[in-house]
Subunit: 207 residues, 4 copies
C-alpha cells in the first residue's frame, strides 16, 4: 500500500488536531495535581512547595510551546497519511512522559539525576517533532511560505535540541545549568516576535 | 517580525478555543476529586465535607464564568497572533492554579491564610484576562458592537479586580468577608441579564 | 438587557457542545479511577471490586444517556442565550457530582445511605435538564418536529424523575429496589428504538 | 420507532467524534499517572518502574490504534443512528477498562493472572468494534471504496480477535507469550502501509 492510497478527507485533519488538543490539555493540567495542599496551617507551610511550583511553571511553558508549534505545523498539512498519524502519536507519547519527569524534578528538588531525566524527556519530543515535521513537509502544502516556514522551524528545532543535549553534560557541573538550558529554550521559543527568529531565516526571503 | 506577519487562517481560532475548552473542562472537573468519600458509614460522615463542597461550588461558578466570558471575548477575535496565543496561555496557567487554592480553602476550613491565597488566585486570572482582552481589542473585530463590548467588559473586569483587591484586607477582619467578595463577583457576573450591566455601558449607546 | 440582546453567532453553539463534551468525557472517565488495583496476587483478589464495578457500569450508562440526550437537545437549539449557558453549566455541575456518589455507592457496598445519596445525585441533573430544555424550547427551533421532540422528551424526563423520586422511599425497604429504579430508568432511556417511546408521543402525530 | 426515524444532521457525527476523542485522550493520558515517582534518590530507584512503563507503552499503542481505526471507521458513517451511538458508547466503555488492567499488569509484573485479565480487556473492545462497524456498514456510505474498506477492516479485526483469543491459553505456558500476542497485534495494526494489508483485500480490487 503506497502512502498515497490512504489519503483522507482534508477535514480529518481537524480530528487529529482535536485529539492532540485533548491529550495536550490533559498533560498540561494533570501536572498541577502534583501541587498537593499541605496539612499544616499557615502560609509558611506552602514554602516547601516551591520546587514543585517552579518545575510546573517550566513544564507548563514547555507544553504550551509544543501546542503553539504543533498548531502552526499542522496548518501546513494537507492530507492525513499514516506517517503523519503515527509520528503525531509518537510525539504525544513522548510529551505524556513530562508530568512524570516534572514531578520527579520537583520532588527531588532539582537534583542532578532528576535534571538529567528531565532534559532527556525534553529531548525525546524534540526528536519526535522533527519526524512529524518531516512527514508534513513531504506531504503538506508546497507553497513558498510553507517551505520557508519548514526551513526556519527545522533550524530552530535543531538549535533547541542542541541546547538540550548541551545541557546534559552541564548538569554534572551544576543541575541549575541544566535547568537553565531548558529555560533558555523556552524563553527563546516564547518570543517568536523577537529578533531571534531572523537568525533562522534566509538572508533574502522573497518579498 | 511584526505581529502582522504571523497572522493565520481564521479557523485556527477554533483550535485556540478547543484547547482552552479542554483545559477549562479539566480544571472544572478535577476539583470534584477533592470530594473524597468518607470510610465510615452513615450520611453524618458526609457532613465534614461541607467546606470542600462550598469551595467547589464557588470555584465551579468562577471557572464557568471565565468560560462564558472567554467564549464571548474570542467571538470578537479575527486573527490568531502570537500576543493572543501567549496571553491565552497565561490566562489558562493562572486558572490552572484554582484547583490547588480551592482544595487548600476547603481543607483548611476557610481559614484566613487559605482565603488570602484563594483571593490571590482569583486576582491573577483577572489580570491575565485584561491582557488577553487588550490583544483582542487591538487585532480583532473593529465594529461598533465590538468596541462597545470591549468597553463594557473592560469596565466590568476592572470592577471585579477591584472587589477582589478590596477583599484582601477585609480577610483580616473576617475570612468570610473575603469569601463574600469572591461570591459577590460571581453573582454579579452570572447575572448578565440583570440591570447591573447597564452600569458599565455608556449612557447613549448608538442605536 | 433583554435576552434577545445577547444572542450570538449560531456556531458558538459548537463551542457550548465542545465544552460539555469535554466535561462529560472527563466525568465518565475519572470514575474508572475508583477501580484500584489490588496488591495481593490472584484473580480472586479482584472479586471484592464488584460493587465498585457495578456502580461504575450504572453511572457510565447514566452519563452516556445524558450525553446522548444532550446531543439531541442541543441540535434543536438555534441561539446561545445567557439562559441556555447557565442552565447548561448547572446541568454539568450536577453531573460532576456523580463520580463522588458513584464512589460512595461502590465503596459502601450499596448501603441504604449510599443508595439514597446516589438517587439524589440522579434527581439533580434530571431537574437541571428540565430547566435547560425549557430554555431551548423557548429560544430554539420552532418547527413541528422540534415541538414534537420537546413534548415527548419532556414527558419522558418527568417520568424518569418520578421513577427516581419513587426509588427514594423504596430504598428504605431495600437498597436494591432503589438501585433497581435507577437501572430501570437507564434501560428505558437506552432503548429509544423500543415501543416505549410511543407512550410519550401523541396518538396522532402529523404525517 | 424505526431506526430511520432518529436519523440526524450529518454534522452531529462531528460531536460523536469529539466526545470519543475526549474519552480516548483521557484514557491514554491517565495511564501515565501509574508511573509514580520514587521517593529514594538516584536513577537506580527508577528501575523497578520498568514493568509499569512497558505496560504503559503497550496500552498507549493499543489505544492509539483504536483511535486511528475509529477515526477511519467514522469517516465512512453518514448518519447518527441510535445503534451507532450505543455501539460507540459500548466501545468507549470497554476501552475505559484498559487503564485498570494496564495498572494491574504493571504492578503485578506481567504475572499469569494479570496477563489473562489484560488479554480479556483487549478482546472486549475488539468485539465492541465489530458491533460498531456492523452498524456503520449498514447505515453509512455505500460506495465501493467503503464496502472494500469494511471488508478488509472486518477481516483484519477478526484476525486480531483470533490472535488475542489464541494468546489466552498460551498465557498458561508463559505470560510472555500472551503479552507477545498483544504486542503482535499492535505491530500488525501500526504498519498499515506494510504488505500485510494486502492479505485482507480481495485479489482483484476494482481499479
Amino acid at each position: 500500500m503506497t502512502e498515497g492510497a490512504d489519503i483522507e478527507r482534508e477535514d480529518s485533519l481537524t480530528r487529529v488536531e482535536a485529539f492532540s488538543d485533548g491529550v495536550l490539555a490533559i498533560i498540561i493540567t494533570i501536572m498541577v495535581l502534583e501541587l498537593k495542599t499541605p496539612v499544616s496551617e499557615g502560609l509558611a507551610a506552602l514554602w516547601p512547595l516551591w520546587p514543585i511550583f517552579v518545575a510546573y511553571v517550566l513544564s507548563y511553558a514547555y507544553v504550551a510551546i509544543y501546542w503553539v508549534n504543533h498548531h502552526r505545523l499542522l496548518s501546513h498539512a494537507r492530507v492525513v497519511t499514516s506517517g503523519l498519524l503515527w509520528a503525531n502519536m509518537l510525539l504525544l507519547f513522548t510529551l505524556s512522559l513530562i508530568p512524570f519527569s516534572t514531578a520527579y524534578l520537583g520532588e527531588h528538588h532539582f537534583s542532578r539525576e532528576a535534571t538529567l531525566l528531565y532534559l532527556l524527556t525534553m529531548l525525546a519530543p524534540a526528536l519526535a517533532y522533527v519526524l512529524l515535521q518531516g512527514r508534513i513537509a513531504a506531504t503538506g502544502a508546497q507553497t513558498s511560505a510553507s517551505r520557508r516556514y519548514h526551513k526556519a522551524s527545522h533550524r530552530k528545532g535543531l538549535a533547541a535540541a542542541f541546547v538540550y543535549a548541551f545541557g546534559l553534560p552541564l548538569t554534572y557541573v551544576s543541575p541549575w545549568l541544566g535547568v537553565g538550558c531548558a529555560a533558555l529554550v523556552a524563553v527563546f521559543w516564547m518570543l517568536p516576535w523577537s529578533g531571534l527568529d531572523r537568525l533562522f531565516l534566509d538572508r533574502h526571503p522573497p518579498a
